[in-house]
Symmetry: C2
């Protein structure tokens, strides 16, 4: 198979990541549970990965890095733990359901008000709307860094500056950019960063987390054993323990740490450049095909290596199925968990077929995918004439 669904998960993990997981599965005890060699070995794995993440995103302190099972959990922890009854929240129409649905529950159950920054026909944020949406009770602005559908990248620094000036807590979902693009919590005035480990960070599934500024208090969503302060009735207040209950996934976290090492050793820019060339080559190869519809802004300096498209009025699931069955190409069709984006871009019924690239792809794969799209489009165009 030619795997062009890297935005869903990076498929083949580097050997170093796999080895780190194997090593942990053969040696690690339970982190923070006593002072046995095995428990301490697990502690070291977890701490080292916290440190690598804090360096990667310029987090003030490794203790402000909290591990969760995925970015969805991280976003739920952040939103549910910060937003209170009567607060106002700003988000955007390009968000994933991992942001939209928790906000819908807060609207329903806690009388939270939510406003949405609209997007233009290319899927870009209408930045000019932001200031007008801010109210006296605006507590949080939550936004993704890169769209999982169009690959468009938001200017975090610009928005972070607005939030800081208005004392609004800035929460960013970097699921589609962590490990590919430089993210700097301090420079960009980000208060909470939610990441996943299994995409461009090249770690195993079951990893992710949130990085929290020192001065941001998040009420725990879950509580339980922490290995410390057993006699406290509630979750211990110190970070990261406050937001981490039960046994940590030290096996996965070992792999995540190795993923970050791999990226650092190869050079994040170089890996991203490779994926970007594939993405751009694909875009250039398909853009002039008759009846092709392409979504997103391709005239920007930076974008995630994603190309979403449709052919005429063909159902996206049908196109994706043909690519899979006839050409052995894996893509993702449908609605991509981003309902407001599809409403904005008028693709609710059709969905989109997303091609997402990685440094692990090859130019031959890209050329073959272009050829496949051309053939399917020609057939479709000849049928519909």
């Amino acid at each position: 198979m030619i795997y062009l669904d890297n935005a869903a998960t990076s498929k083949t993990k580097p050997d170093e990541v796999i080895q780190a997981v194997i090593d942990a599965m053969q040696s690690a005890g339970n982190a923070s549970r006593g002072a046995s060699n095995e428990s301490l070995s697990s502690d070291r794995i977890v701490f080292q990965t916290r440190k690598k993440i804090s360096e990667l995103f310029n987090v003030s302190n490794p203790r402000q890095v909290v591990f969760t099972k995925n970015s969805t959990e991280a976003i739920n922890v952040a939103l549910q733990g910060i937003i209170e009854e009567g607060d106002h929240v700003i988000t955007s129409c390009m968000e994933h359901n991992s942001v939209l649905r928790p906000l819908n529950y807060l609207k329903r159950d806690k009388k939270v008000e939510v406003d949405y920054i609209h997007i233009d026909e290319n899927g870009d944020l209408k930045y000019e709307e932001i200031k007008g949406l801010i109210k006296l009770n605006t507590k949080v602005l939550v936004l993704n860094h890169a769209s999982n559908v169009t690959g468009n990248i938001n200017n975090l620094r610009h928005i972070g500056d607005i939030c800081r000036a208005k004392n609004i807590i800035f929460i960013v979902d970097v699921s589609q950019s962590a490990g590919s693009f430089e993210i700097d919590m301090i420079r960009d005035n980000i208060d909470v960063l939610c990441f996943t480990g299994h995409k461009s960070l090249l770690g195993p599934q079951g990893t992710g987390g949130l990085c929290v500024r020192d001065n941001i208090y998040i009420e725990p969503l879950m509580s339980g054993g922490t290995g410390v302060h057993t006699y406290d009735s509630y979750q211990p207040d110190r970070m990261p323990t406050r937001l981490e209950s039960g046994t940590l996934n030290a096996h996965g976290i070992a792999g995540l740490g190795a993923g970050i090492d791999y990226i650092n050793s190869k050079g994040m820019d170089k890996l991203t450049e490779k994926a970007t060339i594939f993405s751009k080559t694909f875009f250039d190869g398909v853009k002039s095909i008759d009846n092709i519809k392409l979504y997103g802004n391709y005239d920007t300096q930076y974008r995630a290596p994603i190309v979403s498209l449709n052919i005429a009025d063909m159902d996206s699931s049908e196109l994706s199925a043909i690519l899979s069955d006839k050409y052995n190409i894996s893509t993702r069709p449908g609605a991509h968990c981003a309902p407001l984006l599809h409403e904005s871009m008028k693709t609710v019924d059709q969905g989109m077929v997303r091609f997402s690239f990685s440094h692990q792809n090859t130019m031959e794969e890209v050329e073959f995918a272009i050829k496949a799209i051309r053939e399917v489009a020609e057939e479709e165009n000849s049928t519909t004439i």
Copy 2:
């Protein structure tokens, strides 16, 4: 190191478990995200493990098996998703903080009433108290199967029968027994079963979940992308999607499935018998040592392979450190996240040193641990005289 902390996590995973994780890390896509081969391969991994779990615990249907990152998350999902303002809950003094702390938050924030079944001097539940604690608004009885401190096992069937007769939802934490003892949701009238994957189920860390009876509705604790029903404002209602948001840990779940296969192929009874013989040999070897204090009931047919002890008034951390430094034996000292148990057994200050055994241990290791305890006790006794 002689690893006698198996109740914290089983350390060396079987080769089959490691291989399953490697295979998944080299091939699995993102489950429920489209119909590409890689996504479907991940779907199959996840479904097969759901099926194995449903067979292991006699769950009505694999779709009623929900994956979480650990049992703590599973317990939080169950308690926070079922218990409402003004409800009454019964639990026990032998519970872990994974049960006690979520209940403390419900007491504080939702005016939930909680009563605790006491334990006797051996750490056994005072079953005779249960009926007297039931009130008109008792909604839930939540209990562990085996104590993580004493190894004592509760009679689930007896308690399940009481719950069913009174229409009380019976939630059971099987963290210390899943994979070692037969658990039957239907026979024992269990409504929600919360399990962890990384202990006796021999799976990787980062795995766990809850099994839910068909007729039990659990409100989601988290929401987000589900790969299906993108345009629903809230989490889709169907199980297990209702309680699973974001990317599943298919890599870990592959290993968990292999862990269950390993247990089934070797015979759960045989593995447990081996661990039980080690535990009993250890108990018999140390019970007559001067000034030894042993906790738990050793006169029962079944118990988890755990022996917790102290020597005279020696701090449990000191004893555990000597065992580690001088004898290379890994144990766990302290309070074991079970505050009410330590209060009941008057070991708040001293803690306990827990020895927990697995089929992976050897009789030589057990004999050596007995010798170590004898030597430390003799030295301690001679010093204090």
